[in-house]
């Protein structure tokens, strides 16, 4: 990939994150590279255990004790975050890069009022008096659509509904005017109508605050509607990355194609869905070479070597040895087992 870094807010270069466990070393991220540009919304997609969340935690260096980024560079605005001291890193978290969690209830302290939790964070990073911090907190809560914010700020987390809590977290994250927002499955715990509300607020706030965003999710619909570019993760690696429209219309990696064909969609009929044989790889002893090869229909001897990222078009990269052999099809058409991407079994 090219190396002009001026237009990139975040440039993750070849990072390896390992966890030491009793069963052995879990290679959660195994050479992950991707980037996020200024004012861009980037989606990170993949199934559970593919390294999405570990990526966000590696960037902010909030990994559990047994985890460590063993190699690589994470360049944020040109500065390598991995080279910073812990106290320097504390000024980055929250102020520069904000994180939005999946479960809004466990991200809030149940025995502290919303006011305390909001102004604590604001006063830690900004030189404001308590009154000014509270005014800012109310203003932000108002901006995310919480009615009577000046009264409700004294309430406790349990007095809010799930969607409201997620709004409070958005308000708290954006009060510090960060440049990058990492949203880790922000709407997974919410109902569809509430999900639409929250995504609408995030979109509006992104435009107002000129935010870049990394949206981690397994919901392909959410990604299609809210991102400019996508990185598809599989088994701790990026298998395909490109503009959102291209990934959906012209996917090249066998895994991306299978993933898109396996979701029931509005346009599809009631026919069978494509399935991927086998299961997600164990990262203690992952398959050699391409991590998808035991489940892939195009597998050859060559796949036991690690595939390079092949450039398809501008911005569109695919990590596969057999890009020219992979059959491309309309993902919205009904799945036809005869054209078969994969063997339809367990």
């Amino acid at each position: 990939m090219s190396h002009e870094s001026e237009d990139r807010i975040l440039d993750v270069r070849d990072i390896y994150t390992y966890f030491r466990t009793e069963a052995g070393v879990v290679k959660a991220l195994d050479g992950v590279s991707f980037d996020i540009r200024y004012n861009e919304s980037v989606g990170v997609v993949g199934e559970s255990g593919c390294g999405k969340t570990v990526t966000s935690r590696s960037i902010l260096q909030i990994l559990p004790k047994n985890g460590e980024v063993v190699d690589g560079q994470i360049l944020y605005k040109g500065v390598d975050l991995l080279a910073l001291t812990p106290s320097e890193m504390r000024t980055v978290r929250g102020k520069e890069i904000a994180l939005l969690f999946q479960d809004p209830l466990s991200a809030l302290n149940p025995v502290m009022s919303i006011r305390e939790q909001m102004i604590d964070v604001i006063m830690l990073h900004k030189f404001l008096t308590e009154e000014e911090a509270e005014a800012l907190a109310v203003e932000m809560m108002h901006a995310v659509g919480i009615p009577e914010a000046d009264k409700r700020i004294f309430d406790y987390p349990h007095q809010y509904s799930g969607g409201m809590r997620q709004r409070i977290l958005i308000a708290r994250a954006l009060a510090l005017q960060p440049s990058l927002l990492i949203a880790d499955e922000p709407t997974t715990a919410l109902d569809v109508t509430i999900q639409a509300q929250v995504l609408d607020i995030i979109k509006r706030m992104r435009e107002e605050h000129k935010l870049s965003m990394m949206l981690i999710t397994h919901n392909l619909g959410v990604v299609a509607e809210n991102t400019d570019r996508i990185h598809v993760f599989y088994g701790g690696r990026v298998v395909e990355s490109g503009p959102t429209r291209e990934i959906f219309k012209d996917p090249h990696h066998p895994y991306t194609i299978a993933l898109l064909e396996s979701i029931p969609s509005f346009k599809k009929g009631k026919g069978r869905l494509a399935t991927i044989p086998g299961s997600v790889p164990q990262l203690i002893d992952p398959p050699k070479g391409c991590r998808f090869h035991p489940r892939c229909a195009y597998v050859t001897e060559m796949c036991k070597k690690r595939p390079p990222a092949v450039k398809i078009k501008t911005d569109h990269y695919v990590a596969c040895h057999h890009v020219d052999r992979v059959i491309k099809r309309d993902i919205n058409a009904d799945y036809d087992p005869n054209l078969g991407y994969a063997i339809d079994n367990l």
Binding site: D191, V192, D200, N219, G221, N226, T244, P264, K270, L273
Partner: protein, 368 residues
């Protein structure tokens, strides 16, 4: 349909079903030609809210989890039940299988009343015919039992396949895509998708008339979800079983079901054939619910109807339409009079005073 005779012989006729000419609310126009396997009549479940003083507890109100549901399920159909959390989907399913006693109303399995039957033999037969598949494949299997024991127990209780129960277990495992040697394993040795196959086998081994599947795929990853959905569809056709499929993922419901019922705060607000409801919904709640589904296609421009506010608590419900406080086309009448399920157009039934017109509703357009 013989519902009026049934009620007469039992002598507990609800007025609504006295006449044969009356069309059952929400049922398709060709209902006469189909066999009704399950019928819910004016089903309600109220949970009391109690305050506790030192000596006495006092009921201060009721949570109306399910509030008057009429529904018919026909042989061999898959009925999708959708709605947001807290709308009563799970309470309804528990009442249908007999795990929860309704406050009022009846559940009829063919000609047998699920909750009022006293004959032990018939009761046993009812439980055989109403099976459930649970959401969480990790907690719904006994971790200390081998798969064969889990699957064999219902056969022993119901005295089925007496000559070769183990053989029946193995045949069932094969049907759901597992191997013979899996019978001797414990649940922890399986992946989530395989466990859900075992859950499915446990329900199907009874050869039931009706299966209630409460969010059967929501705990699974998409690629695994696809294989379970394929399997459910195949087995449903093969065994001609009727399924009530509960899910919050509307694209999954769209994929598997023939008919769909939309629930809001304990009531069915819209019911009709899946394609018709998803393409031209009549109730404003269905419109906003369906428009809120994110679309995995960047070329589709969607008109989103974003609802304000949250689902109100089912404790102190306003008079009139329950959706009125969040509705985008609310009128004074909506606050006064509660709408009942009525025929709107085509095969669609909705409970709304001002349903959407077919021409007006076009939820998505392809971008230029």
């Amino acid at each position: 349909m013989s519902s009026s005779e049934q009620i007469d012989t039992k002598g507990d006729g609800t007025e609504m079903f006295q006449q044969d000419s009356e069309v059952f609310p929400g049922s398709p126009s060709n209902a006469e030609s189909m066999e009704v396997v399950l019928e819910l009549r004016n089903l309600r479940k109220y949970f009391p809210i109690k305050t506790q003083s030192i000596l006495f507890s006092k009921t201060v109100g009721h949570i109306k989890a399910v509030d008057g549901i009429d529904l018919q399920l026909f042989r061999g159909e898959v009925l999708g039940l959708v709605g947001e959390s807290g709308c009563g989907k799970s309470t309804l399913s528990k009442m249908v299988v007999g795990l929860e006693k309704p406050t009022t109303g009846q559940v009829w399995l063919g000609e047998r009343n699920v909750h009022e039957e006293t004959d032990k033999k018939i009761k046993l037969d009812i439980t055989r015919n109403l099976q459930m598949v649970f959401q969480d494949p990790y907690n719904s299997l006994n971790p200390r039992r081998m798969v064969k024991d889990t699957l064999m127990e219902p056969l022993m209780i119901h005295q089925l396949e007496k000559d070769d129960q183990y053989g029946a277990v193995l045949r069932m495992l094969k049907k759901v895509g597992l191997e013979d040697y899996h019978a001797m394993r414990y649940p922890h040795e399986f992946s989530g998708g395989q466990r859900q196959r075992i859950g499915l086998a446990r329900a199907l081994i009874m050869k039931p008339d009706v299966i209630i599947a409460d969010e059967p795929v929501s705990a699974l990853d998409v690629s695994v979800q696809a294989s379970i959905l394929n399997l459910m569809q195949d087995l449903q056709k093969e065994m001609n079983v009727s399924i009530i499929f509960i899910a919050h993922d509307l694209s999954v419901v769209k994929h598997v079901s023939n008919r769909v019922a939309v629930m809001y705060l304990g009531r069915i607000v819209e019911i009709g054939p899946t394609d018709e409801v998803f393409e031209r919904p009549a109730h404003p709640y269905s419109v906003s619910l369906i428009s809120a589904i994110p679309f995995p296609d960047p070329d589709i421009e969607k008109k989103k109807v974003i609802l304000t506010g949250d689902v109100p608590s089912p404790i102190d419900l306003p008079p009139g339409c329950r959706f009125a406080p969040r509705c985008y086309k609310v009128q004074p009448k909506c606050h006064e009079e509660s709408p009942v399920l009525k025929h709107i157009r085509g095969e669609i039934w909705a409970a709304c005073h001002y349903p959407e017109d077919e021409e007006v509703i076009k939820l998505h357009t392809v971008k230029e």
